[in-house]
Symmetry: C2
Subunit: 235 residues, 2 copies
């Protein structure tokens, strides 16, 4: 019984991620924002020509989308499935040694609060899910009735999220915390509202987000006094 391996062809996709420069580009795009080709080249530390070649290959492999706007071309991940692959991969990859003070500060910022493509991750994301569970708003893989009321009251389009083709409210394993945060359609909808309300805003470091004063207050009121993140601010 000769058998030739004929499963899904994972090698080509893996090859796209395998190059350090492309990996840097994809990781930068994990922030969820679309970035211009030039910015990506700078972030990855290569010439515009090189970055362009990589982006064209990523486009070919359907890992990224492009939207043309004037003389800029903004690239973004092709979908949440791609983001999931990157996150899972990060989970079994070595974390690089910290070489400088600035790097360690950036690392701490990312551990504190970041976006995982389109939803909140890091200590903040894990904390949010914990509060939702403790308050009886979330159980198993779904919102409870009170939870649905709580989030709807906040402005989250729960019905819309439920109707999406994407999984509603799965737990997403957080690779810095090694614990779950809220992912899926609901995670994205909640995060959208957090930004709209100005409770979180994007930081200078690509994927990082920071809790604002309004956010601290709003969340404290929502969950009656429990902090979402650690007490000491990252300086």
């Amino acid at each position: 019984m000769e058998y030739i391996a004929r499963d899904a062809d994972i090698a080509p996709v893996a090859a796209l991620i395998a190059d350090p420069t492309r990996a840097a580009i994809l990781t930068a795009l994990l922030g969820g924002r679309a970035l211009a080709a030039g910015e990506l080249a700078r972030m990855a530390g290569v010439s515009p020509a090189t970055a362009s070649a990589h982006l064209s290959r990523l486009l070919d492999g359907r890992l990224v989308d492009v939207v043309r706007q004037g003389r800029h071309r903004y690239y973004r991940l092709a979908g949440h499935e791609v983001a999931e692959v990157l996150e899972v991969l990060a989970g079994i990859s070595a974390r690089p040694p910290v070489r400088s003070l600035r790097q360690s500060r950036q690392a701490r910022l990312l551990e504190e609060a970041r976006t995982c493509y389109d939803h909140l991750a890091g200590k903040a994301g894990v904390g949010l899910l914990d509060r939702l569970r403790e308050g009886g708003y979330y159980t198993g893989h779904d919102l409870t009735e009170v939870g649905e009321r709580l989030l709807s009251g906040l402005g989250v389009d729960v019905a819309g999220a439920r109707g999406s083709r994407r999984r509603f409210a799965p737990e997403c394993l957080d690779w810095t915390e090694r614990r779950a945060h809220l992912g899926g359609a609901l995670g994205a909808a909640v995060t959208e509202v957090l930004f709209e309300r100005g409770w979180y805003r994007r930081g200078n470091v690509p994927r990082a987000v920071v809790l604002t004063d309004e956010g601290r207050e709003g969340l404290a009121k929502l969950f009656s006094g429990k902090e979402l993140t650690s007490v000491t601010p990252v300086t």
Copy 2:
């Protein structure tokens, strides 16, 4: 604000998966069984020397483990995290075109029932989770009380699975069915019992498993008459 990408280093791990031969080896090991270096070489369609080189690199990268037994060396995936990466990757990878009758038969066998590293997947896996949900044995991300009784009665070590460091009963997205099957520690424990009881046995094609007559009967009794898999057997 210069920023140098400094997340987890996903490129090296991706590079290990990126080679077609190594991908074939890893995919073969997704069956959950440890396989000898020679078998892997044959399956990947490559000389023993080449396979050996690849296996040594996979070993280095901690994607596989090896256990020496006499003159054989049996390789297996290093853990369920590795299996998860491969499954997620398969989800966004193109399925290769079917070229022969034998291949299409193998493909159908895998769609019907296979192992996803250490738990049941394919139509059989998805069906099992559906029955558990329909019967009120499983809800959200956990077993109900009746569900715990049902599985314990079958011989599943539910308490042991709950105590494991691994997630207890997550839904695992099935890349052929695009729906969830039972994964995690509980998924593995249930699958172990299914094999022990002889309800399923491993097929000739690497990751495939087949429902036995005892299995058909036992599961029908368990879920009062509902078939786990499609009606027509794969010939």
